[in-house]
């Protein structure tokens, strides 16, 4: 394996959880997560030699992962799917933990793809500047969108009054 390949492998290993969690939030079943992960892997490899280091690796990985997931999400047609945590032994943990992750997944996937990207980055404690640089909008626009997203998430968690 040459130097470039070693570097790429190292980057994928270090940021695998980031890539996987992004793919997880843009998919409805295990097959989709796998497909998205492969596509992101391809895009990262294609863009690797063009990466000039102007942004941090983390920012670059996020940018590629989110852009790939958003563009695939726009192309795909809806089909009947199984929710990702049903009968899938992906995480060998308690049911309570899985239910919480299921709730998180359920809330975030109700948002439009672009808003999903913004909220994921915000949940990673990134600044408005960083978020804006990744998704391609101004920090002010990020703050406006985030305010609306938070309101939407708040409505999701508030039970509807009869």
């Amino acid at each position: 394996m040459n130097n470039q390949e070693q570097q790429f492998t190292q980057i994928v290993r270090e940021h695998k959880s980031t890539i996987y969690s992004v793919c997880y939030m843009f998919s409805k079943d295990q097959d989709e997560v796998d497909d998205l992960f492969q596509e992101v892997l391809i895009k990262l490899w294609q863009g690797f030699d063009k990466f000039e280091g102007r942004s941090s690796l983390r920012t670059w990985v996020y940018k590629v992962s989110l852009n790939t997931c958003i563009s695939i999400d726009r192309k795909k047609k809806s089909r009947p799917t199984q929710t990702i945590l049903e009968g899938v032994d992906l995480f060998d943990d308690s049911d309570t933990d899985n239910r919480q992750l299921d709730m998180l997944h359920g809330r975030i996937t109700q948002l439009p793809p672009f808003d999903r990207a913004i909220v994921l980055l915000w949940l990673e404690s990134m600044s408005y500047d960083e978020i804006g640089a990744i998704v391609g909008i101004s920090p002010k626009n990020v703050s406006v969108r985030l305010f609306r997203i938070k309101e939407q998430l708040k409505k999701m968690s508030t039970p509807a009054k009869s």
Binding site: K16, Y24, D31, D35, Q38, I42, M103, L120, L123, K150
Partner: protein, 140 residues
């Protein structure tokens, strides 16, 4: 009198903080399951490759039927020999190119992510070129 003006804001912040912790927990789990996840990904990629192989074999079988059939049609309809020959050559080249580009030795595929990404990128690039060339030639 108690001030409830900040209560809903605080509740919202608490929920958002909880979501933040849940996302962090998700990422921790992924890290802890490193080996499992990589093997899972690789088996998914291999499964996809095997699906591609099945479609290649279908194309080859169809080609083996279509080529002599086209020769026969050309003879029966009295088409110019060079036209029939050209189409047969193009079909054959397309079949061979499809096999060369898309056939990957799945069972000996390494579990190396970089190697896999490289192969997938090469496949996609050549497939695109193949489509750009084959489509106008065959329809022209």
């Amino acid at each position: 009198m108690e001030d409830f003006s900040n209560t809903s804001l605080n509740n919202n912040n608490d929920e958002l903080d909880a979501m933040r912790l849940q996302l962090a927990e998700l990422k921790n789990r992924i890290e802890r399951n490193t080996e499992l996840n990589e093997k899972h990904m690789m088996s998914a990629i291999k499964r996809k490759m095997r699906g591609v192989h099945r479609s290649i074999y279908r194309v080859i079988i169809m080609g083996l039927v279509a080529i002599p059939l086209w020769g026969l049609i050309g003879y029966v309809w009295n088409l110019p020999w060079y036209f029939t020959a050209f189409t047969i050559v193009m079909l054959s080249c397309s079949m061979i190119a499809d096999y060369i580009i898309n056939h990957v030795d799945v069972d000996h595929m390494t579990d190396n992510m970089t190697d896999t990404a490289r192969k997938l990128v090469k496949m996609k690039k050549y497939r695109l070129r193949q489509e750009f060339i084959a489509f106008p030639v065959l329809t022209g």
